[in-house]
Structures are given as C-alpha cells and as structure tokens.
Amino acid sequence: MRALTWHGIHDVRVDTVPDPEIVNPRDCIIKVTSTAICGSDLHLYDGVIPSLTPGDVLGHEFMGEVVEVGAGARHKLKKGDRVIVPFTIACGGCFFCERQLWSCCDNSNPPDKQDMAEALLGHSPSGLFGYTQMLGGYAGGQAEYVRVPYADVGPFKVPDHLSDEQVLFLTDVFPTGYMAAENCDIQPGDTVAVWGCGPVGLFAILSARLLGAEQVIAIDHYPKRLERARQAGATTTLNYHEVKVRDALADLTAGRGPDSCIDAVGMEAHGLSPDNLLDMAKMTVKLTTDRPHVLREAILACRKGGTVSVPGVYGGFVDKIPFGAIVNKRLTLRSGQTHVMRYLPTLLDHIEQGRVDPTFLITHRLDLEEAPKGYRMFKKDQDEVHKVVLRPQ
C-alpha cells in the first residue's frame, strides 16, 4: 500500500510499504477514506519530538471502512462498518480505561516501548497512532490501510448521511479542543482566552461558547486564522503583532484577567518576544526541548484562582515556567492527551443537530500522493493553510 513515511527533519515521502495485517485477536483493518495532517504532525516534521525512526508511517486523524475484523472484536464491528478512529489507543480493561481516562491507558503502549516513556515521563501514557516509537510505534493513518488494535474499544461508527469531512475531526482536533474547554470548568460570565487559532484552538473557542463562556478572546498573528476564530465564535481577536497581549487581556477584563487561559500552541511558539528568541537559540543547540512562551504568558495573564488548560503538545523538560505565579495566584493547571472516546456521542450529536459544522476549517484537499506537499504548505504558510485533508485514491 501507499503511505506517508517520515525520513528525517522536513523529509516525508509517500512510499510503498507492506499492507497491515491482523496481529492480535482484537485488531481490525481500516481502509482509509479520509485522513488529515494535524498541527502536532508538524512537531514530528520539524524533528522536535524524539524517537521517530525512518520509515515510520505518520498520521493520527483518519477514518474509513472496516475491511477485516479479528475474532476478538467481532462483537462490536463488522466488515463494511464506516468508522472514525480515535488517535489515542485504549485497551478498555485497565484502571484508566474503566474510568474513561482513555489517553492514560496502561496497556496500549507495548511493554518494550514503555521503558522510554517511563524514563522521560515517569509513566507511560497510551499508545498513539503514527506518533513516535516512544508512544507505541503504531503505523499511522496517512496511508491506504491501518491496523487498529483493540478495535472493539476505539473505532466509532458514524451515520451514512454525514460526509467524511463532517465527522473526520472527531478523531482528534474536535474532542481535543472540547476537552481543553471542558477542563476550564466554565461558569456563567466567564472569559476564556485561547492562544493559537489552529484547528485545536478553533475547536476550543467553539466549545467554550457551547459550554457557556460569555467572552472568548482569540490570540494569534495570522489574520486569516483570526478571521476563522471569529467564525468559530470568538468575541474578540488579538493579533500579537499589533497589541501587547497581556495589556490587551487586562484591559478586556478590566484588570481581572481571563478566568481561563487555553494554550493551544504548545512547544513551538512563534513570535519575537525576548523569552521566545532565547528559547529558539537554546533549541537550536539542543539546550532545551520546547519553546513555552505561550504557556508562560497564559500563566501570567490568568486571573487569580483561574485555570490554565493546555491542549498544546509539549515534549520534555520545559524551561523557565513562572511556577511562582501558579502557587501565589492559586491557579489550576490542566492538560492531557485527549480522552477522545469520552466525547464522541456528545460531539456527534452537535454535528448531527447542525450546531457545529467542522468542515469550516478545511482549506486544502489533496490526494494522499501529494501529502509531502501538504506538509510543506502547512509548515510554510499557516495563514493560508489551516487544515489539509488527504484522500487515498
């Protein structure tokens, strides 16, 4: 089959690789009909997340048709089912899965991969599709076919009257943005500030409104992304090239600060703030793993007793976090890979009832063969390119 494979920094190719096969009884094989490039794939593209090996198949936002089901998953799935596949892999039987903390699954990261995760993170989180050897080495979804483990837990059937593009983002970015907003525990009258108006940020904005936020402030520096943020429901947008973010936030909240701050940017912040320039220099010589400018700003901007919610991806040991502010302002810090399965019925209902149309963020549709071009475009022009959807032919 054809699949998008990683070969090094800014080097991804569509190669012919072996078709996946059923390995374990609870596996199934999906024939991919639509898949997307995620903003977090750019971290892999940039080589800032460790433990990819050349030839790894990327992609964790994918959906398609079930073409083969192992004996252990037949009670839930059958050939021909049309499903979206959550990017977090979960066994369904461990302590965490029982409590719907799916992205913390104890078992889906294979035993030999957990060593590295334990060394770097303390404990191993769940395995992910197409997202490094440390998180399982599972072949990803930017491919014609994918092997899906624990197929009786993850794959979620979607109704035929909804198009691929309407449901594809249930795999990751919609639930991720939703969980980021849910983590803010939004109360009547709340102001939520969202840094980063990529797909996760946009869904966080939209979800914050769904969950009752009165004011949602979107922060980015790309005019077209800020325009989309307004479409998604942001009441105010801030271009940090034009205004000082903390001054503007203080003004918009009359000195209180936003009740909740969402960092939907993560480890590769843009911008020419002094701290970010220093991080860029340190990152170049491998003295730091992340550029957490946004996290710092969100912590400092957040109102006392407020919540900082971090759906953005961070890789390692993050430098110079103003922890004193977390202590002295009694902030709540919440994060996590997304417990995708927990949100699917609710979010599908929002789509079916027409309250949310996720297709608004798609800017580019490419053939899977053109995936490397998709990565290049996405990396180069984030003002124009918001979401690239790939289709295998």
Binding site: T16, C91, P111, D115
Partner: protein, 263 residues
C-alpha cells in the same frame, strides 16, 4: 545452601535492586563528614591549583576526589574496606553459595481479582504466553518445570525450576536445580491493592549472572538482562490479563513483495 525459609528471610531484607544501584543506596559518607570532605576538597584543589608543579597537580587531584566524595556522599575506599559484605548483592550471593548474585525487583498492579491473577501465574503452562524470550517451558509435574530460554547471540540456556513454596492466592516461590545453566531463586507475591485498585504483584528474585557482573552488562546491551526482562514481562502479564492480549506496536517491516511494488 540454606533452606527455603531462611533464604526467604534473607531475600526479604534486600532492597529493590534499582535502589541498590544508585549512589543514594550506597551513600556511606554522611553529615559533617560529607561537608568537611567537600570544603576540604575545594581548599586542597585551590592550594594545588595555585602551585604550578607536580605536587600541586597531585594536591589538586586529591582535592577533586574529596569534592566528588562530598558531592556524591559515596566513598569507594570506605566501601571497599568496610562495606563489602553489607552490599545486598553480596549478601544474596553468600546466602545462596554463589560467587556473585544479581537482584531483580519489580512490582505491577493488575486490574483483576487476586484469585484470578494468582491462578493465571500458577498455571505454568501459561508462562510462555506472556514471558518474552521463552523458547519453551515443559511442565514435569505440579512443582517441577523445565525451562529453555533464549540468551544473547542466538544461544539458549536451560534449567529445571522447583516450586519451593506455594500459598494459594498469595505467594509462589521457586529455585533452580543445582545443574541449571542459570541459577535463580525468588518469589512472586500477590496482594489486594487499595479499594478498586486490583491486585499488586511483586516479583523478587536473585540470580547468578552466567558470566559474572560483566556478563550481566553484556546481556543488558542485548536486552536479555533479567532486570529489563522482568520489567517487560510483568507489563506483558498485566496486559494479557487486562486486555486479553499483548499489544504489538511496530510490526517489523517485511521487505515489500514484487506484488506490493507493482502498486
């Protein structure tokens, strides 16, 4: 060799090997001695550094050694003179009558009732399903099994193992026969976790490294070292019970067939 009960007592005193390997565990310089060592070392190094001759270099070197001793809290000389027999590994070796011993300790929580977890382990015909690197295990009788295990460089090692203690639902202890390729003795314990936390499984064993401590390091490089193996095998045991199968992430790439390449 001591009897099983005595050996159990001895092994019970042994702290987890992971701790035994760190400076923390082998710290033998404490309190004022440590601070004096540090301060004296800095002083010596400064005096030595100021003198531009051989004696100065020697003083500086001695100072650096004292600084290191102060920083790490570990003195190799003191250890060699007084601490040898106190080392857990040495105690285990002595108890077993081996020339050297390595210790493995690892615990895992399994989200299943204790009776089920114990039964899954006690049925030795299951072991090869979740233990890696097992070529085969022949069940001789209820207490005896014959093991053929993969070793580095494509070799295998074999031994007979005897159950020396079996307390239903709680504990299984074993030791290997005197003619084993690799000698080991140890046990696995099963306890109820706190409410809703399943069963706590603790495995602890001592083994005689086939080629001494150097061989142990070589085996580690090949990831066939028992410590690495125990860690992974316990995870596999847990997965097998909780998920009914052992996860496989990266499927080693087979070379594409000509048919694949035609696509």
């Amino acid at each position: 060799m001591t009897d099983a009960a005595l050996r159990s007592t001895l092994l019970a005193e042994i702290p987890p090997d992971s701790r035994a390997n760190t400076f923390l565990q082998t710290a033998n310089v404490h309190g004022p001695e440590r601070w004096l060592s540090l301060a004296g070392g800095v002083g010596l190094a400064a005096i030595g550094g100021a003198r531009r001759d051989v004696a100065g270099a020697a003083l500086a070197l001695a100072g650096a050694g004292l600084v290191l001793r102060g920083l790490s809290g570990h003195c190799p000389i003191k250890h060699a003179v007084s601490g040898r027999d106190a080392s857990p590994r040495r105690r285990a070796a002595k108890a077993q009558g081996w020339s050297s011993a390595a210790l493995v300790h690892r615990a895992v929580t399994v989200n299943k009732p204790r009776a089920e977890v114990y039964a899954a382990w006690r049925d030795f015909s299951n072991l090869a399903r979740w233990m890696e690197n097992i070529e085969r295990i022949d069940i001789v009788d209820d207490r005896t099994s014959h093991w053929v295990v993969k070793a580095p460089l494509g070799r295998t090692v074999e031994w007979d193992a005897f159950v020396t203690e079996d307390v239903e639902g709680e504990r299984i202890a074993w030791e290997t026969a005197p003619d084993a390729d690799v000698h080991s003795a140890g046990w696995v314990e099963f306890r109820d976790g706190p409410t809703g936390r399943g069963t706590e499984v603790r495995a602890r064993f001592a083994y005689k490294p086939p080629a001494g401590q150097v061989g142990r390091l070589v085996a580690k490089v090949f990831q066939r070292e028992p410590h690495v193996q125990a860690r992974r095998d316990l995870r596999r045991f847990k997965s097998w019970l909780e998920a009914g199968e052992i996860p496989v992430g990266h499927v080693p790439a087979q070379p594409a067939t000509p048919e694949d390449l035609r696509l």
